[in-house]
């Protein structure tokens, strides 16, 4: 170790590995992926891994990606819910990895809900 910069570089790289192990703070955005049998069968697993990877890649330390069971809307799986600190909940339905990237980009990073993917636009969805 020849300089403080070297230490900082290691720290920043290693931090993304341990930031998961914090008590969940109320300021965090929670991304919840439905991972019951119905969700997994509909392809929730790649959606979940896409969220984890994208969140890590962008270093979004305030986002916690987690799973949940079946919420009863099996025909719309994979379902992803985004809980924001202000209590707002957005429900995305019929997700896939590409849509997940879009949600990370627009919603988690830029705070813009991707309305065409939410449960509200189910009627117009293909």
């Amino acid at each position: 170790m020849k300089s403080l910069e070297e230490l900082r570089a290691i720290r920043d790289r290693a931090r993304t590995n341990v930031h998961l192990r914090k008590e969940n703070s109320p300021d965090n955005i929670r991304v919840v992926v439905g991972m019951a049998t119905c969700g997994i069968a509909a392809g929730a697993r790649p959606v979940l891994t896409t969220f984890t990877d994208e969140v890590a890649k962008r270093g979004l330390q305030n986002v916690m990606v987690t799973q949940t069971g079946c919420i009863g809307l099996c025909q719309y799986e994979p379902i992803v819910e985004v809980y924001e600190p202000d209590g707002r909940v957005t429900t995305y339905v019929k997700m896939n990895p590409e849509k997940a990237v879009q949600v990370v980009n627009d919603h988690l990073v830029n705070g813009k809900v991707v309305s065409e993917l939410t449960i509200g636009s189910i009627g117009t969805m293909k």
Binding site: M1, I10, R11, N17, V18, L20, L48, T49, T52
Partner: protein
Amino acid sequence: MYRSHVLVCGGTGCSSSNSQLIIDEMEKEIEAAGLTEEVKVVKTGCFGLCALGPIMIIYPEGSFYSEVKPSDAHEIVQEHLLKGRIVKRLLYQETVQEGNNVKSLNETNFYAKQHRVALRNCGVINPENIDEYIAVDGYAALGKVLTEMTPQQVIDTVLASGLRGRGGAGFPTGRKWSFAAVNEADQKYVCCNADEGDPGAFMDRSILEGDPHVVLEAMAIAGYAIGASQGYIYVRAEYPIAVHRLQIAIKQAREYGLLGKDIFGTGFNFDIDLRLGAGAFVCGEETALMTSIEGHRGEPRPRPPFPALKGLFQKPTILNNVETYANVPQIILKGADWFASMGTEKSKGTKVFALGGKINNTGLVEVPMGTTLREIIEEIGGGIPNGKKFKAAQTGGPSGGCIPAEHLDVPIDYDNLIAIGSMMGSGGLIVMDEDTCMVDIAKFFLEFTVDESCGKCTPCRVGTKRMYEILDKITRGQATMEDLDKLEELCYYVKNNALCGLGQTAPNPILSTLRYFRDEYIAHIKDKTCPAGVCKHLMKYTIDPDKCKGCTLCARNCPVGAISGTVKKPHVIDNSKCIKCGACMEKCRFGAISKK
């Protein structure tokens, strides 16, 4: 990228209840479920709640699973990791609330009142991975010290923080460092006392197992402050996990150039080596410890000269305890004022206690100085099992004393404990309930010091033995009141004349029990009874003929054939044969057998 971390305790407590097997099973199940890329299993240090081990925490949810068995791995992986359904049956009960909510761990009684400084990384990081330590600002304090501060500024900061030695005596750490700093020499040494020998104390072990790098970093800081280039950690060979992790930590630190030559390109050189102690209690005494590092028989020598002037290999040396070092990097990073804001007027910061004995939450707790014994025992410790009454707490192990119920509300710090006849010691806290005989406790500790006395000086070698013999006589009901006077006189004699701390503090368990429980001594001597019903020679098991149904169960279970009688007739115990093992009382279904 991992979406979930499974932290499994790899401290000594959980390891002895098979946590390694749990890790193996979890890895197997995770692979079987195809989650290897998503879930990472991390072996950490101690979480503190040893009573409920083996312990596992799963993040990001923060689910705290207790008493996990290897056979639970399948369910945890299938339910929690695959489907996101927390396995409620394994959760630490206190975290499960009404309405099926799961409470945060930091809100539970055990953790809410704790304040973790020395233990901050234990149970959070993987102690065998230097990157994880660096991720939580590890080695940043060393970097700051080497690039921004002068040695004198380091000493001044430690001095201003009010940090005192956590090994027991409570000497101000900054002063120790400043003494060694002013003594000129071609070579100086920094030593770490990890020879934790008090029965019931395990905080140093847990720090070394859970966060070994913090000790290395602090020793390097101390080396810079006093002008030393070599450090030694004297650790007990009975701590194999701690030794192993220290070896890994030293190797990784050397690879990263955080130990060795020209650290951070500042020209500062510092390296650390391990020395294993063979388990002699006296080697925890500073002069004996250094004699042992030099390769000689571990015996103390008179002071002065103090180690700051002539220590290891006759060179200026500082010796601090593991927990003391664990506080140093935080003091450098967060400042002396931050540290001094915790604790009492003369005892700053926090103290780690190893809670043991008759208490529900056996384990490791760290609280700000000034917390009362009542808070530690009743709130954090969860009280005494089986609804028994608190009788006393022993602090400081064989060098300390007991604290009776009347002092439960005294804020714990170095000076208050001395004032009530005990001492901080290294932090063992053994809780005793009404079934404990105080004479027997004093005898237990004296037996320990008799064993561990190195024999160099007469007051300790002969004195502890004689004190033990008198105590033994008392527990046999053969002592007189003159013996008690002689015992007390002997206590003061040994206290004032022994060569080192071991002998000087050996009488403390007797003196403090005499101070608070003299009536128990007198009951043993005058009435020939043991009020707590512990001393075997002073009690008798009897069968109540009215309650005995003559089932013969007791007679069949008596290992020495002391019980006689015919079927369906009351039985009798022959007290000349009885060895007072209590097996009959345990087996009797009618409550017919009593002891007094």
